[in-house]
Symmetry: C2
Subunit: 367 residues, 2 copies
């Protein structure tokens, strides 16, 4: 594994869209008891279901600590690879490498990770093991690495169309806990150089109470070039309404890198999902504080799906909106099977299916 | 990674000789301070030299604990892969999988490992992480695995010629700390079934004071079918003399699985190597006992070399016997470069270059 001094843009590498062909997917087995209720038993089952669904059409590697290795091996089908790797938590989207491709070779990008805000408003301390994972994963896959370790970014805070456009949120990328010394232009420059894109569409905000400072991957996702799904509510009294409305207005007046107008599909959220007293009781405290309080609203959104080679793996919440969401995604991804996973046990940890996965583009031609 | 219920013999898989083509080699980065003097700093340098030498002609993966990952990455060239993996110590030969091949596919064997004798005369406690490594490595390489976890064997206690013959020592395989409930015939049966060999040549003993219960890989190694090197001394007063003499007598009257007589090349040992007081002071104690005592004789032998694709990597001890040993190996391996490594820092840990390496046979045809 070599560290490359140049940039993907200079070398002709770009971040592909998620629907482009994958070699496989990386996940991390959940363990920490202040993130996952009752010691993570139910979260591990949910993660295993996600991994199984993805593994039907691409190779899946699940990273597990030494402590969890046996559990992972037992819960996962034999076609899934389990590798030992230490982490502070289980958000592969945010700290596994962002991979870029030149069509035949792939390379990884190592961004700095500081637990969604470091000492300003980060969610746990320390985050050193998470922050080493991109490097270890490039090493594991024997892929060379661009090291942008002086720039803080999580994979969940960006989406690309593979044709020059990146979408993100100001709430996250301009937050005080990430790159306070960089201007918006400087941040955008890094995205241009490392993702090899030509335009950033800046949404203002994301999902209400999303503790990642409102990652884009919970509010808005490309489904094809010039076409997105947007988490939506018709309830004007819901605080989500104004957030989604603001996104819609921006998207309706924006064009993508190729000058196309953007079609927006409203993906209606479930009714507000709140954490129960029993669930809170099952969460260890973190830094002597409870990690959740009863009645706290969770950032539930159907936008947090993963596009696998032959499937879209999406969260269900046991809500009447589940089925309409599935139908919309099925319509938007006609060549893929939509596989719903009951995801409350993932949501309690603070994210969802997209947050716990990271795709690896193909790097040799398929047979 | 699937667990296979049958045996290699039943499936047409065999353990190839070490000189057959390798995909690569597995090593484990040293760390424990009761094995490696002064916290392992000098051992890590020596291991890195071995890895570098091997990596000139095959792919090398070095397993390192999370604590040592950065050190490994820093000390090793970028062409070597470092993967995080926990272990109790660093003897890849003894607890990485023994790989078998059918000519196109390879599979691993998981033997039980109990630190060279378990609670009878094992060398440390616990050994649980070591004993998990074969499984984790099969998983890492996505190779299916034969699980003989009820049979205790270390890779260093066997050598094969790839043509039906295995050589081992009674001192080790019949020791009280390994498989006391099995007869010699039953042990031999396991070797037949799992290595897919037809004949075991039983040497009595190995190298004097070899704390592995005298592994064969320190006393005698095949260099081609029907041809071995044997660690030797001409000094009849050295306790090694009787041990080597006994091996020679057995080898001279034995034939291999194909009925061939065996040519024996005497590979003369260095003058007795003993551990110094300063070295002992640099070793942490283990179970409240010193791991070495000043003046203790170490099991120094040139037989403990590794056959890489284009090289033979051998130990040097700073002894007048170094050069004649190198010359003999160069003569016996005319197509390979003999690369000597100053190995005292490895020897102090209790083994040598062969002990810290495990080859992986090729599993696709080379391009």
């Amino acid at each position: 594994m070599k560290i490359i001094d140049s940039t993907p843009r200079a070398d002709g590498f770009r971040m592909p869209a998620e629907w482009e062909p994958h070699h496989g997917c990386i996940m991390i087995f959940p363990e920490r008891a202040d993130s996952w209720q009752f010691g993570g038993y139910s979260a591990r089952k949910a993660f295993a279901q996600v991994a199984e669904a993805i593994s039907r059409s691409e190779r899946v590697t699940v990273c597990a600590s030494e402590r969890q290795y046996e559990n992972a091996r037992r819960l996962l089908p034999s076609r899934i690879r389990v590798v030992e790797m230490s982490s502070n938590d289980s958000w592969a989207r945010d700290y596994a490498p962002t991979f870029v491709t030149n069509g035949s070779e792939i390379r990884g990008i190592n961004w700095n990770f500081n637990a969604w805000g470091g000492l300003v408003d980060g969610l746990y301390f320390p985050w050193d093991l998470d922050n080493k994972m991109a490097r270890k994963l490039c090493d594991l896959y024997e892929k060379d690495m661009y090291d942008l370790g002086n720039f803080t970014l999580e994979g969940g805070s960006i989406h690309v169309d593979g044709e020059g456009t990146c979408i993100t949120t100001e709430a996250c990328l301009l937050s005080a806990g990430r790159n306070p010394d960089l201007t918006k232009n400087e941040i955008e420059h890094n995205l241009h150089e490392y993702l090899n894109i030509d335009k950033v569409i800046w949404l203002k905000r994301g999902i209400f109470n999303d503790e990642t400072n409102e990652h884009v991957d919970n509010i808005c996702a490309f489904v094809k070039p010039a076409e997105v799904v947007l988490a939506w509510t018709d309830d004007e009294k819901d605080p989500q309404y104004e957030l989604s409305r603001s996104c819609l207005e921006i998207l309706e007046r924006e064009t993508d890198a190729k000058g196309r107008r953007i079609t927006v599909h409203k993906l209606r959220c479930p009714s507000p999902v709140t954490v129960t007293a029993e669930e809170c009781e099952g969460l260890d405290s973190c830094d002597f504080q409870p990690t959740r309080t009863p009645g706290e609203r969770l950032a539930a959104s159907y936008v947090n799906f993963y596009i696998a080679n032959n499937a879209v793996v999406m969260p269900f919440f046991g809500d009447p909106a589940d089925e309409p969401a599935r139908e919309l995604l099925a319509k938007l991804f006609p060549t893929r099977e939509v596989i719903p996973i009951q995801a409350r046990d993932i949501l309690i940890g603070g994210g969802n299916i997209h947050c716990i996965t990271q795709q690896i583009p193909i790097y040799t031609n398929p047979r």
